[in-house]
């Protein structure tokens, strides 16, 4: 641990010379698939993430990202079938349904930059592994049902970093998000395609 710390400090202190760090903020748009689409089928335009990437060499970086995506759908005058607490009966409830999925992915990300640290466009492929906290909510009338769980999450991605000047760069990319189902499927298997557009601060 101590060794790691020393290595980290050395690398960090070197960073002004090697431009070895990136701080990244992205706006995200996300298209749901599969069971997520069944629940909230609209494309989400509410999402962002923040990431930090550290270059191990010219071509490889490791880092992490923390994000938030909101999916929403409104269904007017639909009949749904619900269970209530302490009661096994199924109730038919007709009304407006307001459905929400909020998901907060926390990923460790490894990236490979095909053209290394040079070029006006630096394409990369990456893989994010981690967890995502997902909350699923359905409101109908004066009733509301919420469930939230942690899901295991895998996120392959492709993208490009486009340097603007010494300090700033633009980031574009697309990430496929897959997460395992939780709570016996009450939190669905998560699939979405997320588009990133953002800026990078380089050091």
């Amino acid at each position: 641990m101590k060794k790691l710390l020393i290595i980290a400090i050395c690398l960090f202190s070197m960073s002004p010379f090697v431009k070895a760090q990136m701080f990244n903020v992205n706006y995200q748009m996300s298209i749901p698939f599969g069971e997520v689409k069944d629940f909230t089928d609209k494309t989400s335009f509410r999402g962002f993430d923040m990431g930090y990437h550290y270059f191990l060499s010219d071509c490889f970086s490791v880092g992490g990202a923390l994000g938030w995506n909101t999916f929403y759908e409104e269904e007017k005058n639909v009949t749904g079938y619900f269970n209530f607490n302490k009661n096994d009966d199924v109730y038919a409830i007709t009304g407006h349904q307001y459905r929400y999925i909020n998901t907060v992915p926390m990923l460790a990300i490894g990236r490979y930059y095909m053209t290394g640290n040079t070029g006006s466009i630096r394409p990369f492929v990456g893989l994010g592994l981690g967890t995502q906290w997902t909350e699923k909510r359905l409101d109908v009338g004066l009733y509301s049902s919420t469930i939230s769980r942690w899901q295991f999450s895998v996120n392959p991605e492709i993208g490009a970093c486009i340097p603007i000047n010494e300090q700033f760069a633009a980031n574009v990319g697309v990430r496929y998000n897959y997460a395992t189902k939780a709570a016996n499927g009450r939190i669905p298997e998560f699939q979405s395609l997320t588009f990133n557009i953002g800026i990078i601060l380089m050091r």
Partner: protein, 210 residues
Amino acid sequence: MKRFLTLILAGLFAQLMVSCYPEGAEYVEDYDVAMTNYNKSADFSAFTTFAIPDSIVHFSNNEDATIDHQYDDQILKLVTENFVKKGYTLVDTTQKPSFIVTASAFSNVSYSYYMDNWYNNWNWYWGSSWWPGTNPFYPYYPWYPSTVYSYRSGSLIIDMISTTTREDNKVDVVWNGIADGLLQGSGVSILYRLEKQINQCFEQSPYLMK
């Protein structure tokens, strides 16, 4: 300076995210629902005749509330019409109807049902609060009435009770429909919304047919 800019940027992002978070229900009628439940083992075609009392039982937790019976006739008429449309015949109580229809109105968020079994035991008692925890209607995993504390909510409950005596002498509710919403706006507009939900209760119960 760079850090400051980053902070501002992050702040703006957060602001953007919060400000465009989806709203959900906007108008009073967006909260209206029609709920129905029935006894799966009941044979609805075996019922033929029904009787209905001439008033609605009102429940309110506010002792000072003046109970307004002015719409009772209209509501009961609508309920009767719906049952007639389903093929049942309205008779007088003296003619031994095969089921009885009751209508109860609850207002001001303080009703609590006691249901150890929905069909067998259909009692109510004056519970402490409608809000989460004590409400047996408190829905499954964890369903809870959403936070609309500043509003009054109201429900009209229509029960279809079989007159056939059960072995355990309990009331045999074979079907019920609940029109549920917020008591906001004029009496007429509430009545209009209520009527819509009452009709919906019957519409979503195709099994209820002579």
